[in-house]
Symmetry: C2
Amino acid sequence: MKQETNPNYHHFLKHISLDCVVFGFHENQLKVLLLRMKKNQEWALPGGFVLENESMEIAASRVLKERTGLDHIFLNQFHVFSDPERSNINPAVPDFLEFDITFQDADWFNQRFISVGFYALVEFSLVQPQPDVLSDICEWISLSEISALMMDHRQILDKALETLRLQLVFQPVGYNLLPDKFTMPELQKLYETILGKELDRRNFQRKILAYNIISKLDEVRQGVPHKAPTLYRFNPENYQKALKEGLGGKW
Amino acid sequence: MKQETNPNYHHFLKHISLDCVVFGFHENQLKVLLLRMKKNQEWALPGGFVLENESMEIAASRVLKERTGLDHIFLNQFHVFSDPERSNINPAVPDFLEFDITFQDADWFNQRFISVGFYALVEFSLVQPQPDVLSDICEWISLSEISALMMDHRQILDKALETLRLQLVFQPVGYNLLPDKFTMPELQKLYETILGKELDRRNFQRKILAYNIISKLDEVRQGVPHKAPTLYRFNPENYQKALKEGLGGKW
DNA sequence: TAAGTATTGTGTTTAATTGACACAATGATA
DNA sequence: TATCATTGTGTCAATTAAACACAATACTTA
């Protein structure tokens, strides 16, 4: 039965969708969770719709729970994408009938959607990528290896990255992207990757330590070439405080 | 005929609305454009709905054109308000039948709306406030004099102000809020009002001038008590450049 | 097993920015 | 003509950021 594999779209609010840019960090690379669509092999951001009694935030959490298996993901809305032509930006018009989608579902997908963009920061290793009904693959792709995306999803991704860069200036980042214990070079690489530029190792360390959001541990990373770097851990109280109050914003 | 005074709501996208926080600056006070609803005398932000072939931004411009008479207003979306209970936050349930709204229109207003918040910065003296069909008054209210607002509009206003404060740190503000020519104390007062704190006159001047976004004129303000202050004007090229590239954001 | 090497840990020195403050110049008012 | 609030133009000290140097560590390899 189709009804068991596909959602009942008439429970969702019309015209409204959401798309998520899920960032992870692995092997010194910033990665994004993408789906490959069955229809035309195009890559797309994970997205979804809003139930009648859900907020956008709850809807986004639900979608991400389905795609990653994770609860309580760090999530921020960053922009609304509402160009009436946004679904026509990349030419391929989906022919949903080729797959297990009913005629009525095709009507649902052919309406105009105003999409709220969310970005999420997650710990790479905790995610178990799951495709949705429209996709055959769900996996992490390195930022540098992403080429074309479905519809306006490339714009959505670029805007998410831009937002993340601005956030970095006055909010701490990393608690949600790194494992519990991490080294200073790893944290620095994360910052460099998000900002897209190199930072001075010694000045970086001084600045990060001054924020008081991480604590040095009595442990070093084992089994690495050359000198073993010390492990650090985020200080949850100070991190949360910094999230709320910001980091040095002037004026 | 009702059809001539009221919009045809079935041309709008369901479930989607927008609300605008219009900021103006007058007599050294930050002001917000508000409407008083006919129904219950509650004050509300100017808002509206989205036509089938409009982007959110175009819809917001259209709404603001109707409320202010102005085109090309500086507009930024800042947040989506989607709590399913947002229309029930202030108790008063509107009884639209008392006014010139048809039964069908009441259905329209009773649906759940997800609202995109925009803030606008406009030059106070250019605005000609116009009420809409649901309101009897449209006027500027000083930020300090605003008490309760309809539904979740107070939250929307607070979030807009918070966003504006953050913007101020890495983007210039003022071009859209001040008249063509202005004095340094006027610009400073604007910054102080937005930030909600006092700034040192001399340090403020040094910092603003360093941004190279304003030019000193060979003119002073006439007819003021005490020493006449020099007039300045924004430098459009450098201002636009600063808007795009940001002001000192560190890292 | 000892020298080589890449990487980490911990600085210093210099320049730029910010914060706190002082005083003369102006021009209406008394 | 003296007064006074306000503007214009600084200075100085403290803080912050940028550039740079060198020793310590631990794996590599000869």
